[in-house]
Symmetry: none
Subunit: 205 residues, 4 copies
DNA sequence: GATGAATGAGGCTTCATTCAT
DNA sequence: TATGAATGAAGCCTCATTCAT
């Protein structure tokens, strides 16, 4: 029955994610995964061709979800015509949502960042895709709000990457490496929101 | 002879750094290292106890140098009494110097970030030490300039990590993953400097 | 239903023969066989106990047929009283028929010779049985025609094996490894017939 | 020291030949080989890349030797101008020498014929090379002695293959599958020589 | 100190066979 | 009878480490 089929595959995926997250790709043995999943060694190979392929499979599928979620979050949240308060409110919501995405995919993010998942052809592209996704969104927003009018293409990109780095680092520290309460996440996004505002719309000028 | 001794050890360290950087810890074989160093397999174990120990040794020693350099850079560069122009000038210099440190230790940084060097007890501490180093400096500066007066301890830390993330990401992208000219590095630190200024001293109250 | 039963078994036998022939015993997987037969993995074991047993089963049953055919061919075809022309005619027919047997069981012969099917207890006996069959026939004919009167038992056997080898090799080359037309097979048996004649009845006494 | 080096390699080759001969390629485990050679599992891979490569290596090198030996044997042994007695004498010597070659490389021949060594790309070529070698020699002799004047190209080849098969089969039976004394080998080559003579120079007509 | 051959534990993967449905 | 998911033993190979010279 397909149901059973999928169940086993899912058990393997869950086990693999957990152990990859804990130990990284190389320290994870296929035997660890099957043991945790509660199936036999051979069963693994009914669902995945190689150890690498389950790894790639995990980060690829998660990544698609994350990119999708993030893109949805940033769409049509804010407009240049808003008042500062309204804008801040929206920005805060956006940052908060974005952080939730990180939290929901904690294990994957951990794997990608801490264990440096960019070692295999496909995984590398995934990490890159994720980076470019956020960057693209930020740049699009810059244009929408006509920020940094004096900046050239290159400077634009730098600014976007700086914000990307800010978000990434805070998410990493407070959502991936530590567990934070909703209350704390709200505070974190509050600080980040303010900073982003100050660097952009709120620039002294 | 000690001289010879050190020479061989250095050859191994150089070779190891190069290959670790290129392939990461796990994909690097001791046999690769000795081949590149031009010594015999057994010789490796005259200088390092294990493969892990040469790895740790490399990132530890480099890290000390980096931390030292960065701390020196941030010391006494700026003071709250300066004019904005002067302050900006100093900050720019500081960021630029900081970027130079990244560039000078490109390989190590690459290893730490891209390959996720935080897998072994000691290496993990090194990565952490580096993060804490920058963070500490930033927090100290916040205090010195009495920034974010309304922030509590937690928010303070968040803000510091955000800036840390900004710096890290831009360094990563432009100095570690790509090669940038001095001219470009100057532009990059310019943008970052402005952003930092806007988020801190230049805040719209 | 027995009918269905037999059908499935036959499908498996056909598939197995084809793949064994193509890849040899070891490179053939049970999964290949069932796939080609269009049945499930488990079904295989309803009809055959092991992979080895289907293999043995195939060559054994085929071998019986072949031995039977060959024995019939050689029976009462020629007699010492014939004229040379008549004898040659009969010998030619015999060799031709013999070659047809090889051709009809091409796959099995291929398996036995090219893949060296003599690795398992039973299979080995089959190959041997086949060899002894031909050899026996040839020796019987030698006696019937009172050939090699000066030869002792040992020499007799050598001569028989030599002819056996001749037949085998030409069959192998032209019927098993290559496809030959009826016309060509006729030529081949012509040459072989002449040679056999020259070595036996036609000997320069 | 190179001496030791070669010694270990030779131990492995000897062990491998012995076990391949006994069990065939697939039933031979690398662990069997190293056990018989008295070295560790890993040592095997210092000298051979894979199990297949030691197999190929063995039959390739032996084959070169055999081909060389056989070609030397057949060179300038007989000439069309000889008397029958002299010719028979030479032919007998030739066949005898040829049989010695088989005997000297018994194990390899066994492997090639009985286990059907033609399963891997390179091994296949080796078997073919050996077949073509003998065939070529026989055809050359046919031309030299202007045998079978009425035969066309195709018939020529058939005749050559027939003789090849005769030689092969007798060698196989008496030198590879059984052990024969020198005395016996002499008898065998005697019979074969007579047969070859009868089929060729001694043809009625 | 330097060498490099030798070691052997342990990982990944295959595949014949079983078994619950 | 038929299915096909599950099993697990066993093989090949890698590579960090040791050791005799």
């Amino acid at each position: 029955m397909v149901k059973d089929n999928e169940q086993t595959k899912q058990k393997l995926l869950n086990a693999a994610l957990e152990i990859f997250t804990e130990k990284g790709y190389y320290e994870t043995k296929v035997s660890d995964i099957v043991k945790k999943a509660g199936v036999a060694q051979g069963t693994f190979y009914l669902y995945f061709q190689t150890k690498e392929s389950i790894f790639t499979s995990i980060i690829k599928s998660t990544n698609e979800v994350m990119i999708d979620q993030v893109e949805r979050i940033f769409t049509e949240k804010a407009s240049p015509l808003m008042s500062k308060e309204e804008f801040m409110q929206r920005l805060h919501e956006t940052v908060y949502s974005c952080m939730s995405v990180y939290r929901d995919h904690k294990a994957i993010m951990y794997m990608m960042r801490v264990h440096g998942a960019s070692q295999f052809g496909e995984a590398e592209q995934v990490v890159e895709a994720w980076n470019e996704c956020l960057l693209g969104i930020i740049i699009k927003l810059f244009h929408k709000f006509q920020l940094f009018p004096s900046y050239n293409e290159f400077q634009f990109e730098i600014a976007a990457r700086a914000i990307d780095g800010m978000l990434n680092e805070t998410c990493m520290q407070y959502l991936i490496l530590r567990d934070s309460t909703d209350e704390q996440i709200s505070q974190i996004s509050g600080v980040v929101t303010e900073m982003i505002y100050d660097m952009t719309l709120g620039r002294t000028q």
